[in-house]
């Protein structure tokens, strides 16, 4: 949603950078919590997938932060983010 907002030129530079910074910080917190979680029996694969996808999400947001005005890069980032979202939803429903 926010990437679309940026693509439409509705976010100021500082707001986009700041909001993405906060999102990345939240992801880092979630990743730390996941690292310390012991998986339930049969849930190891799902937990591994969550950790991988969170790392991919953080990396994608860092890329967006570096290229806030690059429309093709933002379009690509949106596609990647949607892919990550699909994987996370599938993993969540399997838990």
């Amino acid at each position: 949603m926010f990437v679309d907002y940026m693509r439409q030129g509705r976010a100021t530079r500082h707001f986009a950078d700041g909001h993405l910074e906060f999102l990345i910080r939240e992801l880092a917190d979630s990743a730390t919590k996941l690292r310390n979680v012991a998986p339930a029996p049969g849930g190891e694969e799902a937990l591994r997938t969550l950790r991988v996808q969170l790392a991919a999400l953080a990396e994608e947001l860092q890329n967006v932060r570096k290229m806030p005005d690059n429309q093709p890069a933002l379009a690509q980032a949106k596609a990647h983010l949607q892919q990550i979202q699909r994987v996370l939803e599938q993993t969540n429903s399997s838990l």
Partner: protein, 411 residues
């Protein structure tokens, strides 16, 4: 004409200063999880704050008794002192949360480092409070908060489900799972608490005395507390609606102030975003000052020492030292890096727990004919005030269990 202008300014100030960090985030989150289903909580909260704000103002004007003097007189020294300590700890935590919120918003506006902004904000606000008169501070921030109207305009532009809004005026008695039910009631209590935060009535009653209101101003008291709160609650409805419209379809639970803020400008261009940021900033700055000054008012009123923003600082040393300490204490807490929204959760939940000890003395005093004379509560005032007090007490009993069972509202 002057009177009409004064009342209009008062209403606008109340409208602009109605929301704070807790209300912005809590209400948006409630909308994101449950759509319009908490409209009734906003309605009940609005009725509650109108009733008690009007009573506080009336007590201050007629009896010359601000809230914490009433707390001391009605609860006695020991329970009153415990209430004072609890209320001021909450004021301190809330002040720290609001200062953190200001730093976040300024960072989003300027890109400057948050810790630098925390220190700069606290120093600037301290200087403003020291240098300027009460009325100037209140009016400037209150009227600047009118920029929050952009949230209402955005909500209308995005075409809310008006039928859903109306259905939300009745509590949804059951949800599909126990977890959802607990979350639903957690957010109901949170919205109710955020609208009735004690510092608002402490500040309002002290403000009535600061502004030298007399019984002739009881009409203004009624208009400001009722119309100002109704208009302010419309902003709260807008926040709920934005949560429902933008976040429910996308399955987003907004955990950041920045998420709640940009929701207020989604249909429009960059200027709307800056306006939304400006409106939130004005409201939260107002809350910083209100919580710090409320702390000082509470201490001086309880111990019957001199107080007053419009008096020379040296003539009211305890008052001055207390509000300065509130700012410094809040800054220290904020500099530890604790997240403002975590502090807000604590202040809203524990604020609910302490609330009955503030609201009960207000109701008792306003209903006391010996104190209030011909301006004593009518039967309707007593019944409505009693109903709100029962609801406040029930919410106070439920607040901490709900916080624990929902892990502070995590979906």
């Amino acid at each position: 004409m002057k009177k009409v202008l004064g009342i209009t300014l008062g209403i606008m100030t109340a409208l602009g200063g109605f929301v704070d960090l807790g209300q912005i985030v809590f209400t948006t989150q409630a909308g994101a999880l449950f759509g319009y289903a908490h409209m009734w909580a906003i309605l009940v909260g609005t009725a509650g704050i109108i009733i008690y704000m009007e009573m506080c103002g009336r007590i201050a004007v007629v009896a010359g008794e601000p809230v914490f003097a009433a707390v001391r007189n009605r609860l006695g020294s020991n329970l009153g002192l415990a209430t004072l300590i609890a209320s001021n700890l909450l004021n301190l935590i809330t002040c720290a949360a609001e200062i953190g919120g200001v730093a976040i918003l300024l960072h989003l506006l300027t890109g400057w480092p948050e810790k630098v902004l925390l220190v700069a904000t606290t120093c600037t606000l301290g200087a403003i409070v020291f240098l300027f008169r009460f009325q100037w501070i209140e009016r400037t921030l209150g009227l600047s908060g009118l920029m929050m109207i952009v949230f209402a305009v955005s909500a209308v532009a995005l075409r809310p489900d008006w039928h859903g809004l109306a259905r939300g005026l009745l509590p949804a008695s059951t949800q599909s799972t126990t977890k959802l039910s607990l979350l639903y009631w957690y957010f109901a209590v949170g919205i109710f608490s955020a609208m009735l935060m004690e510092y608002e009535v402490h500040f309002y009653s002290s403000g009535a005395i600061e502004e030298d209101w007399t019984p002739k101003d009881l009409g203004e008291n009624f208009m400001v507390s009722s119309l100002g709160s109704v208009l302010g609650s419309l902003l709260t409805v807008a926040l709920l609606a934005l949560g429902a419209i933008l976040f429910v379809p996308r399955g987003i639970f907004p955990q950041l102030l920045s998420s709640a803020t940009f929701a207020g400008s989604v249909p429009f261009a960059q200027k709307a975003l800056v306006t939304a940021l400006g409106g939130c900033l004005a409201c939260i700055l107002g809350a910083v000052i209100e919580t710090a000054l409320s702390g000082a008012y509470n201490v001086c009123q309880f111990f019957n020492r001199g107080w007053g923003k419009n008096l020379p600082a040296k003539s009211v040393p305890l008052f001055t030292a207390t509000w300065v300490s509130m700012f410094l204490g809040a800054l220290i807490i904020a500099l530890t890096g604790v997240r403002p929204l975590q502090l807000v959760n604590i202040s809203i939940v524990f604020g609910m727990v302490v609330m009955p000890f503030t609201y009960y003395p207000i109701l008792r005093t306003a209903a006391d004919k010996n104190v209030m004379g011909k301006h004593v509560n009518s039967k309707v005032d007593n019944i409505l005030g009693g109903i709100v007090l029962v609801l406040v007490t029930l919410a106070a009993l439920a607040a901490i269990p709900l916080m624990m069972l929902t892990h502070s509202g995590k979906p």
